[in-house]
Amino acid sequence: MHIKEHPILGEQLNKPITIYLNEQPLEAYDNQSIAGALMANNVKKLGQSRKLVQARGMFCSKGRCCSCYMTVDGEDHVKTCMRKVRDGMKISEGLEDPELRRDIDEG
């Protein structure tokens, strides 16, 4: 849930934008981290473990634990706790290891 009126910091969520998780539009606000915006939309699973294939969520929020790796606008393994949302951003779960992609590279 977004906190529209923070008791100490006051009102600040003033610029609503739309991000897409697996093509589903979600409401976010300018300046939020991707992880924060997803959590506001009740998305708790951000990453997935490689060996046991378990869900991972926000853990450290400081770009250290890598539990929140997702694919953002075609870039794999983005730390979503450190990257800010942008209107129209396309996010997907990075469920598999990144693949070499010549189409992007040669573009």
């Binding site: 849930m1 977004h2 906190i3 529209k4 923070h6 008791p7 100490i8 910091l9 600040q12 969520l13 606000y29 939020q32 981290s33 992880a35 924060g36 915006a37 959590m39 506001a40 708790k44 699973k45 951000l46 473990s49 378990q54 869900a55 991972r56 969520g57 926000m58 853990f59 450290c60 929020s61 400081k62 770009g63 250290r64 539990s67 706790c81 450190m82 800010k84």
Partner: protein
């Protein structure tokens, strides 16, 4: 890029050091991973205890103050840049994710702070289990409720600040679970939160997210259904960069574990590298500011922008302030750490 003094980390200690160095006329370059200077202060909505030179402020107010104070001084910024390593000649390598380039500086002040420690338990990897600092970031940085009902787990002092914050944004706090044995009340502070001491979480359960936890208490096992568990495991200094710079290290439990050795000048075993803030040992906000000033004074002295006699007076007064304002255990550990400067437990870490 070039500067007289390179400061790594734009948190309270780094920004304080930047001000003190720049006002003597030296050119300062500040690097920080975030796009905005201020470090963790932006997430801190509580009122901070600060040295008497500052009025009492909330964390984000202090951030704003420390950044604005640098306007008009010879300070250059590399925000949104990460230090990723060191070149053969000892220069720091920086990236903006498009490029990697060296930064040349006479002196380096490391102000990289501390990171939170984890407390593992079965299924602590489930989404919903996070550090207490993460919950604070989500609320104050992202303006998002991390969950609707929380259990706080750990023995550290961070809990009370964050409890207040969470309650203020209507996150229900179901319990505080502490592993230690201190005898106290069965509720936490005057917030009426159930407190379980000498207890531990023995299992978390949930299908793809946290749904339930079992807590072993001295009076038996209880099961709670929070959707977030916030781990309050204390902090340890971040070592990545000092280790790469080949700075010698010592273990000092009261200061948070392994940290670089430093002398009275906060200078490490590498002459051109100084440390400040939580990188000198985990302490309180006053210590961040005061060690920022201490490192700055020593760097200015070394670069001759402050005369030695004057610097010694400044340093002595800062140390006596520090003694007053940080926990006495922390201060004695710091004194001990300085005394042991020349006997590191780990040095030449890259020699086979």
């Amino acid at each position: 890029m070039k500067a007289d003094v390179l400061i790594i980390g734009a948190g309270p200690a780094g920004l304080t050091a930047a001000y003190e160095v720049a006002k003597t006329g030296l050119c300062v370059l500040i690097i920080d991973e975030h796009q905005q200077a201020g470090g963790q202060l932006w997430q801190q909505s509580q009122i901070l205890a600060l040295p008497d030179i500052f009025p009492n402020m909330r964390g984000f107010e202090l951030a704003q103050f420390l950044v604005e104070r640098l306007e008009g001084l010879a300070v250059e910024w590399l925000l949104g840049h990460r230090v990723i390593g060191v070149y053969e000649d000892g220069q720091i390598g920086v990236t903006n994710d498009k490029d990697v380039f060296p930064v040349f500086a006479e002196k380096i002040i490391i102000a990289t702070g501390a990171a939170e420690n984890a407390i593992p338990f079965p299924k602590w990897t489930l989404p919903g289990v996070m550090t207490i600092g993460a919950a604070q970031s989500v609320v104050n940085r992202d303006r998002v409720k991390p969950g609707s009902s929380a259990v706080i787990y750990g023995d550290n002092s961070f809990a009370s600040d964050v409890c207040e914050l969470l309650l203020s944004v209507e996150v229900n706090i179901v319990a505080i679970v502490k592993q230690n044995k201190q005898l106290g009340n069965s509720t936490f502070g005057d917030m009426n939160i159930p407190l379980y001491e000498n207890s531990s979480i023995i299992e978390a359960r949930g299908n793809g997210k946290l749904e339930e936890i079992d807590i072993q208490t001295p009076h038996g096992m209880i099961t709670l259904k929070p959707d977030i568990v916030l781990i309050d495991g204390g902090q340890s200094p971040i070592l990545d960069i000092v280790y790469q710079l080949d700075c010698a290290l010592r273990y000092q439990a009261e200061l948070g574990g392994w940290l670089p050795v430093y002398n009275h000048q906060l200078q490490t075993s590498k002459d051109h590298v100084y440390v400040t803030g939580n990188a000198t040992g985990v302490s309180n906000h006053s210590a961040l500011i005061l060690t920022g000033m201490l490192a700055a004074a020593s760097v200015c002295e070394a670069l001759q922008s402050l005369p030695p006699e004057e610097t010694e007076v400044v340093r002595n007064s800062l140390y006596s302030k520090l003694e007053n304002e940080e926990e006495s255990d922390t201060f004695s550990a710091r004194k001990e750490h300085i005394k042991q400067f020349s006997t590191p437990q780990l040095k030449d870490q890259f020699i086979s």
